[in-house]
Every structure is written in structure tokens, then in C-alpha cells.
Symmetry: C2
Subunit: 317 residues, 2 copies
């Protein structure tokens, strides 16, 4: 019936997704304690913040100070996000930021032009330069994201070949640079995915690169997130980006920027996996405590469900 992985890994995006989207800033101290709480749940990777222009995203201006304040665990990677070389250099110069080489591919010119002022093809060539930059700085090439892999608010449904063209480029690039293939992350950036689309797209990518590790970056924009995760699990996906408490969403307003709408919720999806017998390595009670902390910091109800109802009470044997 399915090809479930035995073990899956959730990479936590809550600290960046959650606080970046907010209009106000939150005290450094609170955010550092929140990251520390997350690090105590068994999560192996936590995206702490963005190295983006402080002018564009004032809430992330203090990312280097945040890294500095966190009491680190040795078994957790604390990562950051950058969108240009300046941000990359800031990350490199930030002690405590675990450098993770990421490439970003697009599927539609309209969305790519909005974000990068270039076409899909031009952005693809730029990724070659990024890969070289990582190589030059001893940063391992860990992940390649393909954004809006399941649909785009500007150009609608995305043909499979738009995704596969990026994968083909990546294969050639890795061969040229003689580096191992990074994990390929299919991102449902604006919440268009459905379980069948996910099954088909992952199947097509798998056929092209059978040995590549595949991950997903899914949003629960339209309430289908758990179905999409299940479909990905059934295709053997073992890497998931997620946000504790569903941080990052703006659930109860017609947000003009729907890109921000709700990552899949770490503890709800980890609960689903664990109940299905798939090992996440996570301590769900500790995750629920971190989710409660997020809700307290943000100061309004968050969209996670398990955090509001708790674990099923199994009778002691």
C-alpha cells in the first residue's frame, strides 16, 4: 500500500516564520529561550532567523544577537536564511550560525520576477554561482528548493516539466562541481498542493533521480496539509519543513500576502507520524510545551490543534 519511511526528520522553521511575519518585534531574550525550548524536543535543525535587509524586515534585524544569546546544544543545527550575498556574508560572520548551503529554484517567471527581478532561467544560472560560492566558503550544499512546485498564484497550475527542468539542471550542476546531490525540497509555497499532485510530482522527481533524498516544504493554507504530508510519506519522503504551533500563519484575516499562510504544524504532524508508527525522534510533550511558549510570546491563539487538546490519554497498561 505504501512506502512509508521508518524515520522522518522535521526541520523547524517556527522561530523565523513565526516572528518574521509579525508586525512587532519580540524581546531577544524570549526568542532565545524559545529556540532553546525547541532544541530540547529532539529537533535536529532549527531555523533561528533571517539575514535579510533590516530595512525590509525590521523584526529580523537582530538575528546575529539572537544567535549569540542562544545556549547551544551540540546535537542541534541552528541555521539562518539569506536571500542575497550580503545576507550570506552576514551569516558566515555570525558565530553559532550553522551554515547550510541552499539553492532556490522557481517554476514561473512571474513569481520569480517578483521575488528576484529575473526569469526562471536567469535564476537557475544564478544558482550555479551560489553553488560555487558555497564551495569556495566550505559550506556544504545541503538542500535545493523548488518553489511553487504545485501551483502559483500568478500563473496557476505548474506543469511537471517546470519542476523537472530544475532537477535536471541540478543534476548537471552537481556533476560539474563534483559535489553530492543535495536533498531536493518541493515547496508548496502558496498552498496549492493536494495529495494526488504531490504523489505525481514526487513520483516524477523520484523517477528522474532515484537516489536523491526528497523533502517537502508544505503550508496548510487550505486545510489539506495533513493529507499532503500523508501523501508525501506514502512516497517515501522523510524530510519535512514545519513550524511548531503552526507559526507563520495569519489564519483569520484575508492576508494580502498569502505566502505567509501557515506552515504545517510540527507537533501535529509529528503526532500523526508517531501514531502511524513512524519514528520522528521527537518528544511530543516537550514540543507541546514549546508550542505553548510560542502562543504566550505571540499573545494570541495559534493554529496548532494538538497543543489545544493534548495527547490522547492512554490508560496505563
Amino acid at each position: 500500500m505504501s512506502d512509508y519511511p521508518k524515520v522522518v526528520e522535521f526541520h523547524e522553521e517556527g522561530p523565523r516564520e513565526g516572528f518574521q511575519i509579525e508586525k512587532r518585534s519580540y524581546p531577544l531574550e524570549q526568542r532565545a529561550r524559545f529556540v532553546e525550548a525547541l532544541a530540547d524536543t529532539g529537533l535536529k535543525q532549527i531555523q533561528v532567523g533571517s539575514f535579510v535587509s533590516p530595512k525590509a524586515v525590521p523584526t529580523m534585524a537582530d538575528t546575529p544577537e539572537l544567535f549569540d544569546m542562544i545556549r547551544r546544544r551540540d546535537d542541534v543545527r541552528y541555521t539562518g536564511l539569506w536571500l542575497n550575498e550580503k545576507g550570506f556574508q552576514r551569516a558566515l560572520q555570525t558565530p553559532g550560525c550553522d551554515m547550510e548551503g541552499k539553492l532556490i529554484f522557481y517554476t514561473t517567471d512571474t513569481f520569480c520576477k517578483m521575488n528576484n527581478n529575473c526569469t526562471v532561467a536567469e535564476n537557475r544560472d544564478a544558482q550555479g554561482k551560489w553553488a560555487q560560492l558555497y564551495l569556495d566558503n566550505d559550506v556544504p550544499l545541503d538542500k535545493a528548493y523548488i518553489l511553487t512546485a504545485f501551483g502559483c498564484n500568478f500563473e496557476g497550475d505548474v506543469p511537471q516539466d517546470r519542476v523537472l527542468d530544475n532537477v535536471r539542471y541540478l543534476v548537471d550542476l552537481c556533476a560539474d562541481l563534483n559535489v553530492p546531490m543535495p536533498a531536493i525540497y518541493l515547496a508548496d509555497t502558496v498552498g496549492w498542493g493536494n495529495p494526488e499532485a504531490i504523489r505525481r510530482m514526487i513520483g516524477a522527481v523520484r523517477e528522474l533521480v532515484p537516489d536523491a533524498r526528497i523533502g517537502t516544504h508544505l503550508h496548510d493554507t487550505r486545510g489539506v496539509g495533513a493529507g499532503n504530508v500523508l501523501a508525501a510519506l506514502q512516497m517515501g519522503v522523510s524530510l519535512f519543513d514545519s513550524s511548531v504551533a503552526g507559526l507563520g500563519g495569519c489564519p483569520f484575516s484575508k492576508a494580502s500576502d498569502v505566502q505567509g499562510a501557515g506552515n504545517i504544524c510540527t507537533e501535529d504532524m509529528a503526532f500523526m507520524c508517531e501514531e502511524m508508527g513512524i519514528d520522528t525522534g521527537l518528544d511530543l510533550e516537550a514540543l507541546l510545551a514549546a508550542a505553548a511558549m510560542a502562543e504566550e510570546i505571540i499573545g494570541r491563539p495559534l493554529t496548532g490543534k494538538l497543543m489545544h487538546y493534548g495527547m490522547p490519554a492512554r490508560r496505563a497498561a
Copy 2:
């Protein structure tokens, strides 16, 4: 990979689930217009209200008046819920209430005693009397629910045979009475289900009664609802109870009565089906309008997601 049905049917429980759980009552007129809006979405069946003790559930005391006020469509069934013979008689005497014969089975003595002051076995025997009562009153035996089929807050995980024993009883009962088997609804009454448990339980029931139509009554208590619906679809389930806007939940408080926690959301799940190419017969835009109406009546944000983000904007061809 799967055995998806081509067509699925959602039975709407929002009007009862949504308003019954609330502490205050809402004007009859508003609730009647809400049911009418739902009836214009393509839904074939809507549970309008409960015929339960007005003392126990004051918000449902005016159910007969509500039925009377609704402008009916011929292609929709307007049903009600009863829990005892007095309620059944009230329903029978309510013009406009489409009578639907339902049996209710339990899986754990503790939960059954709480609800009915009897054991699982005693309740089972009582269902024989209910079936006879329906027969005597020309009420078709439409559905047999098996409550807490996936877990119980009091007794924990539910062994498969607890569910199958009820199915076996039902088979014998229908043979004895010489009536067709009703649809069998597996209910995740307190939100314990996960996709694997659902796959296994439905598989076991299907093996026992290959020709029976199987439905599910699922709650999204712990954020796994869409995954559970997908698992049910993959097992060929084509009948789903659901609530528009996710009505019935009490999402942001540690409800003492978690039974009330969030039915799966009609429009989100219908969206998932339609995107997967499964026909629901529903007008999603009309459903979104009904969901918005529910939110306005209740007067606080509801948990549906599609209603807050809208349909993906596909570019005109």
C-alpha cells in the same frame, strides 16, 4: 496505489454540531437562513438540529420551529438527531424532518455507561429494538454508527474485534429483520484516529462485509483530519460527515468535553477531493459563502482554512 471513489458525499452536521455546543442560543431566523444557504451548495443531506431534552440542551429546544421555518428544497434531506424514544417521537411529529433510521454502537463499556448507563452488550441489544421501532414506523434503516472506533478517552486504544463484533451483530440483525444493510459509519468520536489505524479498521470491516457501504465521522481534534480523510478515500470510503467552517469545535480552549472538538471541515475536505479529481457535487464558492455566514452568526473566527484564504486563483485559459 489507491482505490479512490469517483464520487463522494458529504453529510453536513454544522447546524447541529455548531450551535448545540454553544452556550448561547441564536435567533431561529438566522439559523433557518443558514440551513437554506447550505442547501444551495449541492449538499444532499443536512442535519438541522437535535430532538434532545430541552432541559439538557436548551440551545436545541426550538428544533421543531427551526424545521418549520426552513424553505425546503426537494433534492435535499433535512434530518435531525435523537438519542431516545421520546426524541424519536418528536422528530416523527415534526413536519419537514426527513426521518433517517440510525443505530448507534459502542466499543467501550466506560464510554457507553457514561452516555447510556448500560454496557456495550446491553446497548447492542437495544439497537435491535431501535431497528424494530424504525421498521414499525416505516423509517428506513440508513446508517449504523460505531462510536469511538479508533480510541476512547477512558479505555484507550480500541481492539479491532470490538468494532467487528458490532458489525457481526448488525449483519445478523439485518438478516433477522430482512432489511438491507445500512451504511456503516466508523466514528472517531474523540479524535484518536490516524491514517494507518483508519486503513486497518476499514480494511477489516470491508473484509467482513465486502458489499456494505462505509462512511466515516471524523473529528480534526489533533490536526490529522485531512490525513484521515485521505486514508479513508484510499480505502474507497465515499460517505463523510462534516461541518462547514469546522463548526462544532472549540479550538482555543482546553475544553473539558473534547467530544465537541472540531468535525472535519466540509469545504476544506471537499476542496481536497475536487483538487484530486474526486467529484463531490458541491459548489465550493457557495460553501465558502455559507461558511462566512456561520462565522458571522457565531461571531468569532472559525477553524475552516479555505474560507480564510479562498480558492487558488487559476489564470483563465
